[in-house]
Every structure is written in C-alpha cells, then in structure tokens.
Symmetry: C2
Subunit: 425 residues, 2 copies
Amino acid sequence: MRIRIYNARVLAMEEGRDIFDGEIQVEDGKIAYVGEGQKDAPGPWDREIDAGGNVVMPGFKNAHAHTAMTFLRSYADDLPLQEWLFDRVFPMEDKLTSEDVYWCTVLGNMEYLTSGITASFDMYKKIEDGARASADTGFRTVLCGSINNFGGTVEDMEQEYLKFNDFHPLISYQLGFHAEYTTGREILEGMAALGQKYRAPVYTHNSETENEVAGCVERYGKTPTALLDELGMFAYGGGGFHCVHMTEEDLKICKEKGVWVVTNPSSNLKLASGIAPVRKMMDMGIGLAIGTDGAASNNCLDMFREMFLVTGLQKASEKDAAVVDAMDVLRMATAGGARAMGLMDCDTLSVGKKADLIMIDLQQPNMQPLNNIAKNIVYSGSKQNVKMTMIDGKILYEDGRFHIGVEAEEVYRRANESIVRMKAE
Amino acid sequence: MRIRIYNARVLAMEEGRDIFDGEIQVEDGKIAYVGEGQKDAPGPWDREIDAGGNVVMPGFKNAHAHTAMTFLRSYADDLPLQEWLFDRVFPMEDKLTSEDVYWCTVLGNMEYLTSGITASFDMYKKIEDGARASADTGFRTVLCGSINNFGGTVEDMEQEYLKFNDFHPLISYQLGFHAEYTTGREILEGMAALGQKYRAPVYTHNSETENEVAGCVERYGKTPTALLDELGMFAYGGGGFHCVHMTEEDLKICKEKGVWVVTNPSSNLKLASGIAPVRKMMDMGIGLAIGTDGAASNNCLDMFREMFLVTGLQKASEKDAAVVDAMDVLRMATAGGARAMGLMDCDTLSVGKKADLIMIDLQQPNMQPLNNIAKNIVYSGSKQNVKMTMIDGKILYEDGRFHIGVEAEEVYRRANESIVRMKAE
C-alpha cells in the first residue's frame, strides 16, 4: 500500500521542528517521506489524500489501559472506591469469557480510533483474547503483564513475554505486575530477577492512592517506589501507572532509573485518588506519558480529555496558569507515550518510522480561528476533530467510519450481549 | 413547522421521570407531545425523524459565556493571569469592531450547536452586534449586562434592559455588572436600585479568585457576596458566575436569596483559579448551573467537558468517589441552567415548553454498552455524540452540518480575517 497525504499541516513532533505545510508519503506501513509538498510525487498511489490544510501528526499513545473493561462502562459509578472495586468490578470480572474479552477489546480499540489513539499499553486478563482482538482489528497493542497474588506466576510471565513478543507484528509485550499492594514479596523478587534476566523494563500500578502508599510503608517501612527500586525492579527502567502520591525520594528514583510516569488524570479525579505532581516531574526531567485507564473508572477512552486535564489540573493545583505548556502535553501524548511503552519507531513522523498517524480536522468551530494549532488541539480539541486514524499504514477510521473488518453494530451487539449475560448470571 | 421524532429514548429531565422509549412532537417551536410512540400520529409532518433508539433530551444551557471571545482562542494561553488579561486580552478587545463581534459570536454559537448547547447566557461588549448574530443564526441567547467603571452607566443598562427584552423572540436580557472588583460603589448601588425597580434578578462575576475576594475585604471589610447582599442586590435573586472562593456565610446568602451559582470548572482550572465547592452548594440546596466561560480562557465551548469536570473535581477535592451523581450534573446542565438564566420554558421536555432539544447518538463506541445512559452522557459523552441540535423547533445542526443561513467556511474566514487584522493593527 502506498498512500500520499498532501496539502497538510504537518506536526511531526520531532524536537525543534515547528508545524509546517507539506506532505507525507506512506509505503508498506512506514513513513517514506515527510517534507515539502511534492508536485511530481512518484506514483502510482493506492490513494492520494488532499488533507485540505488539516493537521497530520503522530497518533496519540494510550500508555495505560485496561481495554476490555469497556463492558463495565457506566456500570459502577458514583460509588466509594472499595465498594466500586470489591462489590461491583471484581465479581463481574470473574464472569468474563474469552469471547467477552475479545469483543470488549475490539470495542475499546474502536473508541481509541475515534480519539486518534494509535496504540495502547494494555494490562488485562485473558491476555491472548485481547491480543487476538487487537491483531484482528489492526490495532497496535503493547501488552503489559499483570501477575499478582490472585493470578499468574513469574514462570507464566516469562512464557507470555516470549510468546507475545513473537505473536503478531502489531503486538508486543512488556513485563509487569499488578501492584505492590496485590503482589507478595516473593513474586516481586521474581519479577525483578526476570527483568534483569531479559534486561527489560518492568511496569506496574504505583502510588495511585494514599492508602496504597500507607499500606506499603506499614508492610516494608518504605514507599512502593523505594521498595521496588531496592528489589532491583528498575535495573533496566520501566514505568509506574498513576504515580499520584510520590515523595521527593520516589521522584528521584524515577529520574535516576529512567522509570516512566504514566499519568491518568480523569481516572484519578473520578476515583477520588488525587492529582499527580506532573509539573514537578517535568521540572525534574522524568519521562512522562498519558493514559486513559479503563472504562470502568474513567469512563471514556479519550486522549483529548486527558490532555486538557494534564495541564489544567497542574495549573489549578500549582496556582499558576503558566505551567505545563500545550506542546509539553502533546509530547507526552505522542512521543512520550510511544517511548514509555517501548514503541521506539512510533514516536514521531520521520522517515522510516511506523505510519501510525492521524488527521485533525481544523474545519470545525472549536478549531477556529487558527491562532495556535498546537494549543487548539490540547485546549479545545475533541473526538469530533479526528478525521482519520492510520495504524501501520492502514486507514482504520475515516470520516466517522471504521475499516476494521467487522461492522460497528456487530461489536456493539456483542458487548451488550456480554454485559446482559453477566448481569443475569 | 411540524416535526415528529419517534423511536427515541426520551430523557425529559422532568423530576421523577425516568428515561423512557417514546416520541416527541414539535409544532410551531413548541413541544406538542411527549410520551409513548404514536402509531397513528396525526400528520401531515414537515419531517418525521426515526431516532433509531438514540436519546432525545433538552439542550444544554451554557449559563456563563462571553461568546464573541472565540477570536482569542489559543491566542493567550500558558500565561500568568495578570499578563493574560492586561497584556493580551484587553489590548485586543479594544480593537474589536461590530463586524468582529458579529462573526465571532456566530462562530461561538456554531460551536455551542456542536456540543448540544441550545442557549447561552452571554456577557460581552457591543451587545447589539452579538444579539443580531444570535438572532440571525437562530440561537437562543440571554444577554447579560456587564457595566463597570470602564464602560456603561446604570441608565444605559436600563435602556438595554427595555430594548433587548423586546428585540427578537430568541433574545432576552438580564441585569448584570462585570464584577465587584471592576465596579465602584455608586454603580453597585444603582444596579441594586435598578433590580428592585424592575423586581429583577442581578448577575455578576463573583469570587472567581482569591485575590478578588481579598481585595473586596480590604475595600469594604466583607466578601463580595456579603457586600452585594447588603446593598440589596439580590432582593429578587440573581446569580454569581464562578463562585470559587465562597465562605459559609456567602453560601447561606445564596441559599436564602435564591442566588444561582454558575460553575465554570475548565476555566477555573486553566486560569488557576481553583475548584468551586459544588458539593457543599448542592448539600445546602443552592441552585446550580454550568457555564463554559469564554474561549479565551477555556478554550473550548463544550458542555461535555464541563459536565465531567463538575463531578470529577468534586470527587477528587472531597476525596469521595460517591459525591455529585451524574443525574445531578445533567440537571445543572439542562433545567438548572435554563432556570438560572430565566428561560423558564426551556428547562424540560414537556408539553408547551420550547422545542430546544438535542439528539445524542448512542451508536458510537464511547456510548456502548448501554449500562446506564445518563452516566454514559456525563462521564463518557463528547461532541461526537451530538447528532442533532434543535432550537425553537428548528434543526440548526444535524449529522455534522449547520443550517444557520450562512456557510461554515464563510464564518471561519471572517473570524480569521478579524484576528489577522487585529494582530496587524
């Protein structure tokens, strides 16, 4: 497949390169050209797309997700956290079949496409069903291990690591466990050893709530970050999802060990967890990425909402309207996310990189006038502006229609059947 | 015009009435029928619309706006508040012509339509130009007076009050001044007398920032709310925009005097003003409505973002995921907003009320599965879900297209011409 997108405003997200008028050429899933418009671009093309002055930029990366949890969207809201988790979420998760996970993952991936998200870092049960769903729909997915006291062993994880890094070109796998508070010391030590064996980063939920940190301090006399570091978990880097309640010492460890922070502002608001100190993390030079978390907690899988909140919440909590510039947020949502999850060839629009890109419609009232396009995207953008989403050189979503090998209505029907059955069981 | 919308899920927002399957009939701009589907609904109809199971509900009311400020969208962001206002916003506002205000108001109204907003409470300069823009595009607008030390007299306001309440069926006018901190005591006393003369409510920006409250305490020895109450400003009720920094006493005054609070959460984040105590206001029984504020501070005019933030920010600041239920938020965004701005016949879908309504598309991934439709709208909804927006019985926006008597491209061109000229001046 050779696709040419011309007459575009290109926001390549390469360091030091401003937005420019030009075109992009895609060949065999990769970016073959980015630059000025080419009058005599060498054909033949499978498609030539006139961008009409709209923005072409790297797709957003959802760096923390539980994609199949779409089945619990709006099923358990406005509840205290404990009741939400133990009385509502866990009992329903026990009823999940492979088919449920498959179709609810497809549904989540579709929602990502509508929000210009071209990859997710997906931590969930029945991992092979989720992987098949993503591979079948053409959605790039980095699976994240999630073993804990209630399921999985370090040996299982090693097998998964080997299997899913050789499963499908769109699928990869990173080592991970659920969280310190759900995972005993023996497993944690095994995870650290596994990370070191494969010289691989390790990922986990970290310091999402005050209670979680207090519990760890009670158990080990130190914070989760300090404990994990001491166990050698971050010998090859890794990442923490949420990182809301972090000490100065914790942040220093992240900086020194190259541990990414994936912030999830909507989920942290809705579950009353708090506001992560993103501005401080930026000042310290910690790598930052953005995630939606799952639909049970967020409830929507929308990078535009997350981007606004990443900066808006910092401005309010720091009492300074100048902090966390829109371009910083765009970097977190694109290049930062890609690098955090190990997608080193999906970060920018550059020759040789994967063609995971989106077109942002400027011909909508919320994008006018064109004072500053990057700020428009972060502060005023919405799903309504996602005109096209391409992954691996294939257009999967365009002008409100999906091209994913299955009808949208079929996916909605399956997802509703799943939740109706589970409620009845 | 007679329009029938059948096969709908009707969310009438009447107290005690759940969402139900049925239809709505519209005649001469009013709701003529709401109830079960009528097989033999008496024709002829100008249009019969199969809602396909989608939601029909009252339009959202944007209860605090500066609509024409779209011209400054993304022009002055990531700046400290004082620099934003004095170095960026004010100098540009001085250059506004009537034409600028007209076209930038049309642009803002278009954006409202894409977000399912059917009325705005609009406080801005060159009020007649804004009024003409709204009347021409068919957008219901309640103008709000905004006199202060730098412009306008109480006598002007009385003339405006009489003129714009008899200007056009879609336009009305409420008494208002900019804010205590911009308005001297003499004008404030005149405003209070004017409110009493016409037995009318009075509206103003109130307690948006800590500095504003501290300044008033320094000037008068009391908070803005207490001062205005003492001056007799709220003899017939009224409303405060923002109300972020309110004392217990201030809130009691609001409750006793029937003063509406219009909360603007995105703007309060982005300008680092803080988080309004909405949950406490609810507990005290204070009337609540939601506004976007202007595009210079927000930057998008989107009720979905505001709705999520109204509840999300309370959950986080109160450290309780159970506070401010989704239905409460929907009431603020519809019936609450309508009543706050005096649109007593635009609050619910009921026979005899104005046909200001919207259709919410459920056939999108972010609305699936259908566990709870109200929660889906508040927590997961976006502009992408607005399938149709009707004001006064006329469909002004449907399936991404505007029907407002002017082409969208023409409006974008005019808005860009305005800002380019102003920057060059």
